[in-house]
Subunit: 510 residues, 2 copies
């Protein structure tokens, strides 16, 4: 990120939407950005060059100037994370697989707690953190934040035209320290858990807030825009049309097109919308992932599927073992998963909202999973075969597929598909979710199956005949990898130990 | 069961549908039944008196006679099991809670194996066994049975007009020995796993077979009719209309109206049909149980939800722990569950089809569950609250419910219901199944919650204010019951140990 700082008049009233624009150009590349007022007469323009070279800039408006700077080729940075087909890549083409965690009110804790949280993140396997701009009011979250995003009006309401500079300075320092650990920030722009009034701003004020936020933060390379946490629980103050306007506004005012999505409680956001880069879901219905990936053709992140902990809440009381299972289910479906931790604690410091120390059993197993996933030749896509694939086909598609099947299979396939087609949607959806197997692949290079609850004593795998493979059995909890077959191809029977919570990774031998 | 035996002419050709009827009367009770030919010139009429007293009988047709017998009041028998609302009762009003197991080809094994299976059943917690009339051909099931239900025709086909008397004698002896252990027989009349041709009989032959079977077996007090195992996989030889005719035929020709249902692979049988007494499901979608119970208003048995074992098949490879979880999920939903066991074995004797010895870890925990369930004051009904109940309500119903809610809840409830209503059926069904809690109750006498994956550190229960209760924490795997609160009522916070696989049973103190 390149930053230009100018001195100019000290502003005493409105300073959110100042007239300050800059144009940056390098060869045929040309980009217009807006600058912002940073208090004490400081006027700042931030810019994120996406190609190396000599960039010329020209600033006009509240302050004026021009010049140039040289952007050297990146040494260790990889650029912004982008959605490419159903996975993520940095701009330099390197695959990014999110292993996220959740610390909603990270930035609204005192300095000591923030420091402890960042220390914890340093030792943790997470490369994405979901966190909010606004403070959070909810069970176990009753502390006042050190700063708020805006100054107050005389009537006690928030004055979005006077952003609180101290808030933004502190907030950005925290973002910088997270970025320094190579962690993506899934920044939550709105949420409903509020006692201060941030969730009840007028739509006009929402857009002024977003304008200022985008002027300040759009040039941060490691930020994703999460329009909301649980957008649908904000309905008292934001209609669907408001959300669509917010989405359009963020997309239009972000010169770099950071990743953008929106997080639900119940009804999902419409991920088919062109400005939405990826699918962000709160759901426990992980067996539906292949359907959703097929439907949206975008990367899919399960950004909430319960947290490891012991709260009295359904969503905050799964075991570390179950958290790990859910991560494997997502990864072995070609999707990604996000962690959170909610252990009852005398000091009311729960990781999921306030940070602090990680106490659970899942993070080190998530680290192990991340290692496995990053050892793959590339990202995975879901492999839905047999019954489930059949269930998605209409009669004509089934008929067309029959000649491709071995003759003795055809009658069987017709029986199943005819029976499935007679089911009502509700029964069919529920019934077939129970038949789901977690299988994904990377072309013909790698096949990952998570056996989950299944205690197979043996399995027959069907691999391409013309390539050679190695089969590894992975114990996802005990974090072991054992080669159980070398140099196999075609149809191969593998002996398995007949217990649950194992994965089978088959990779091509070069 | 009362049996009349007459001697008459030896029959050499057709002996299935002989002309032999009997009328039994006692006071105003009057019942017509059919008799059957039992080989060697033996003509038999069986009758099951359902009330005690002096019964007169008159037999006409192939043999003739009349007389009377006295039926004494039952000493330890309770009568047939009937469906009453959404649970089962014996005719004397005693609750029957099925804890079933599955030994499909029990009767098609040699005597030694049958004897071992019956010994195993004696020591097991099961009070219902699913078993077939016809032998089974499938993986791990390749042995020839000692006998078949019919003699063969000259052309090699089965002659349904000449039932094999030796088969039926042996079969009935096995049924008798099971009955002597107070186990209900869920008798499977047809199934598709066949290499002999029993699944491919003409519909006319099917009805002749059923006629003979009903003449012989309808007077057995402990039989249930399961029209099929996986009726929908029999579609090559039986249309839906055929199945409906089979259902009607069995119901019309069974003088005692034994329990009757039909078992699916994919599309469920239509349990709304008047002849169907209870819901019999193969499915793993256990969170839908409350919806189905509400929809069908009949007792619900999950008669297949995978088996404990280590087969390479999805359906035959869950852990004992998972089998036990599924039993608890069913019971804590007001339904019942059926066990099966499929461990790979050198002798290819797998419990689920052939019997033998039980090797798994689930039966003793199912015994413990049965003990808990039978200690309840009565059968349970599902208790679906909060989100899930809301999801079943339309807007008008939600509006009507709002005044009954505390004021601070109303906005929240509207937000959720509005969002849920916007979801497509597929997403809604899948998404909400992940929010399901397993809760059932027996009026205000008992409340059972199975916490399953949840590791609650505390829970607040809401009990009637005017009654007193005891709370017990149940460890479903380690089979312990611990009283954690005595003499509670109203809203009460309970401290819990923060681990999974526990149940909470709250019972009223008298």
């Amino acid at each position: 990120m390149f930053e230009l700082v100018f001195n100019g008049p000290v502003l005493g009233n409105d300073w959110a939407q100042i007239d300050l624009t800059a144009e940056f150009s390098c060869g045929n590349e040309r980009k217009a950005v807006k600058g912002f007022y940073d208090g004490d007469g400081r006027y700042v323009v931030r810019f994120l060059p996406e190609i190396p070279g000599e960039w010329r800039w020209k600033v006009t408006g509240a302050v004026n100037g021009e010049g140039s700077m040289t952007c050297e080729p990146a040494k260790c940075a990889h650029g912004l994370v982008r959605a490419v087909d159903t996975h993520f890549e940095y701009e330099d083409g390197r695959t990014f697989m999110p292993f996220g965690t959740t610390v909603y009110a990270l930035a609204h804790q005192d300095d000591a707690l923030v420091a402890q949280t960042l220390e914890s993140l340093k030792a943790a396997p997470f490369n994405k953190v979901r966190m909010c701009v606004f403070p959070k009011h909810y069970d176990y979250n009753h502390n006042e934040p050190p700063f708020y995003a805006f100054e107050k009006k005389a009537d006690g309401g928030w004055d979005v035209n006077r952003p609180c500079i101290a808030f933004w300075h502190r907030f950005e320092k925290i973002l910088d320290r997270i970025a320094a650990m190579d962690i993506q920030i899934d920044l939550i722009l709105f949420h409903p858990y509020d006692r201060w009034g941030f969730s009840a701003l007028s739509q006009a004020d929402n857009l002024i807030y977003l304008d200022y936020l985008l002027r300040r933060l759009a040039a941060f390379p490691n930020i994703w825009w999460s329009l909301a946490n649980e957008y649908d629980l904000c309905a008292e103050h934001k209609s669907l049309a408001d959300w669509e306007e917010i989405e359009a506004y963020v997309a239009a005012n972000d010169p770099y097109r950071h990743l953008l999505s929106n997080h639900n409680c119940m009804c999902f956001w419409d991920f088919n919308r062109p400005n939405v880069t990826h699918v962000c879901l709160q759901t426990k219905a992980l067996s539906e992932i292949p359907r959703w990936i097929g439907q949206y053709r975008k990367p899919l992140v399960i950004d909430e599927c319960c947290y490891e902990g012991d709260l009295p809440h359904f969503w905050g009381s799964i075991s570390g073992q179950e958290m790990v299972r859910r991560f494997w289910r997502c990864c072995a479906s070609g999707a990604y998963c996000t962690h959170g931790e909610t252990f009852l604690s005398e000091d009311d410091i729960l990781w999921w909202a306030r940070g602090g120390r990680l106490k659970g059993e899942s993070p080190k197993r998530i680290a192990f999973l991340r290692e496995v996933m990053e050892s793959l030749p590339g990202p995975l896509t879901p492999r839905e075969e047999g019954l489930l694939a059949l269930a998605r086909m209409d009669e004509a598609a089934v008929e067309a597929s029959l000649p491709l099947l071995p003759e003795q299979m055809r009658g069987f396939v017709k029986l199943f598909s005819n029976s499935i087609r007679r089911m009502g949607i509700e029964d069919r959806t529920a019934h077939l979710s129970g038949e789901h197997a977690w299988e994904a692949h990377c072309g013909e290079e790698a096949y990952l199956t998570y056996f989950d609850l299944q205690c197979y004593g043996e399995q027959t795998v069907k691999l391409p005949e013309d390539k050679r493979y190695r089969a590894e059995l992975i114990d996802v909890w005990n974090m072991t990898r054992e080669v159980i077959a070398e140099d196999i191809s075609g149809e191969t029977k593998l002996k398995l130990p007949g217990r649950d919570n194992l994965a089978l990774l088959i990779t091509r031998i070069q």
